[in-house]
Amino acid sequence: MKPLAWAGVALVAAVPFTGIGNYPLHLVIMCLLWAYVYTSWSIMGRLGMVSLGHGAFLGIGAYAVVMLWNHFGLSPWIGAPVAVLMSLALAVLIGLPCFRFRIVGHYFALVTLALSEVTRLVIVALRDYTGGSLGATPNTALAQGNPWSLAAVQFSDKWVWFYVILGFWLGGLWIWARLDRSMTRLALEAISQEEDAAASVGINVTRSKLFVTLISAAMTSVGGVLYAQYQLYINPETVSGIGISLQMVFGAIAGGMFVMLGPTVGAVITLLLQEGLRLALGDAFKQFPALDLAIYGLMLVLFIIYMPKGILGAALEWRARRHATPAVAPR
């Protein structure tokens, strides 16, 4: 598997050299970025903490970095750590009462759902600074003949962003794999099965849950920073609120949140679906702007009913069953 994985990474890394146009390259970048964000979410989601509030962390990441740059002239190199710290503080504020007082399942999902909406409302309410629902654009540091600004983390060349986001995606997968092998994961799986029993064998429930939540929140807010710096336009609807929060959950679930590359597959599916519909529907797409959302919603409902482990999860299970069959029936 190891050489295969390296070959896969090399193959992805070679994408900018294939001479695909700017737009396909942009799609690949967005795909990697969402893959990273969905992976960040699944770190927490697969261990029984289904958060519908990760839009809050994404929004803080995006807005903190742009606001500090626009209003205080602070470089994203300072803004990004500030954004991460703010997300961590919020994660503690929400996570601590939830985990200490056993707010799990439906309650946890609803509390986090409200958190993401409130974050969106705060961004809208601070419209004098954030531009409200109209969104915000970071002041450009790029001038004629100066396509790069390392201090402002603005690059007009897409391939630079490709490698930056590729790096974060690989880093996200690495953290996922690291956690997968850790004691914390085993502890949290025990907790998600039966919290009292887990506590009785000496697992610190609050600390284990908070640890994973902090990792997930920090990673997601970095995703927000990357989104803002790459897109150079942010909007409260697209980086926070219910829509994006549910999109993360569904992306991870559609791909399969219990396997490492599941969220990545989810990101690819979401993107292919969006682009496929755009191409297939052509002009009809322009006439009916919500058609893709309708099909998207319908697919999610069908997915959860018929394929709750996601595409990759179901495929791997099917393969495992096929390989196992001869061993079970050797007669």
Partner: protein
């Protein structure tokens, strides 16, 4: 009395009126959770569909307002029953979180369906009523009507649950979901009836909201999260707790929105919610 105090008093009165409406909305969600153990994330979107139903029947088909509203309640009740039968029922034995997410998918679907059918324009029923003037305060008439109708709806639901055969069956199921089938009760029938009842309450909420607010496909998002918070604060499935929480929250939104922007009212309400969670995590009236 100073003019400032008059406005503050007006905000408090408006808060009480809003509280009645929120109580009605949270009652439907609480009922469904208490009985079926499922949270409809798309609950506010059902209300949105109900608002469009009343709007279309009244303005495009020229129905008088009251029959249009009755039909609106019927449409949402049928939608609730269908939602249970076709979406919730297949995942009833699946992981709880899948039940939550499947209704999240319905949220997108219903929003998109409304956008496809009606566009993203703001629609208005165009009903004008003269405000009710009490002393120096003027209170908008639709709010008073909504408050009275909402309380009537809450009371009717209460009577239904305590005085009728169906209501007793619903409460029995909510007390022990496992034992009732052994007593010969068909749980799915009770679930469908409960879903229809929850839908009817959403439909009634829609009729009252359509008098006060413009309709657009995303309107569910403006009050959906508040209703969720109210249900959690009151203790999910605890209807009396939801009632109390509704009035507390409505005051935060109305008075908070009076001193600052309306968004800050929501933010303060949320901060209060977090504080309560530290203090009484099982909800204000929830039993441990």
């Amino acid at each position: 009395m100073e003019i400032f105090d008059i406005f503050l008093l007006e905000a408090v009165v408006n808060g009480i009126l809003l509280g009645g409406l929120l109580a009605l909305l949270s009652l439907g969600l609480n009922l469904i959770f208490g009985v079926i153990d499922v949270v409809w994330i798309c609950y506010a979107e059902l209300i949105m569909i109900g608002m469009y139903a009343v709007f279309v029947l009244h303005t495009q088909y020229g129905w008088p307002l009251l029959p249009a509203m009755a039909a609106g309640v019927g449409v949402v009740a049928a939608l609730g029953a269908a939602l249970h039968q076709f979406v919730i029922r297949p995942v009833l034995t699946a992981e709880p979180i899948n039940q939550l997410l499947v209704t999240g998918g319905m949220l997108f679907l219903l929003q998109a369906a409304a956008t496809l059918a009606f566009g993203i324009d703001f629609r208005n029923l165009g009903v004008r009523m003269t405000p009710i003037v009490v002393g120096e305060m003027s209170i908008s008439a639709p709010r008073v009507i909504a408050f009275a109708a909402a309380l009537a709806g809450v009371a009717a639901t209460w009577l239904l649950l305590t005085r009728t055969y169906v209501g007793i069956a619903i409460r029995a199921i909510s007390q022990d979901r496992a034992i009732m089938p052994l007593m010969g009760v068909n749980p799915n029938r009770v679930f469908v009836v409960t879903s229809a009842l929850g839908g009817a309450l959403a439909g009634l909420g829609a009729c009252l909201l359509v008098l006060q607010y413009d309709i657009h496909p995303a309107i569910g998002l403006t009050f959906g999260p508040i209703v969720f918070l109210i249900c959690v604060l009151g203790g999910l499935g605890n209807m009396l707790g939801g009632l109390v929480a509704s009035f507390i929250f409505a005051q935060f939104i109305s008075v908070g929105g009076f001193f600052l922007h309306i968004e800050w009212g929501y933010v303060i309400a949320f901060a209060f919610f977090i504080a309560v969670m530290f203090w009484r995590p099982q909800g204000i009236l929830g039993a441990k």
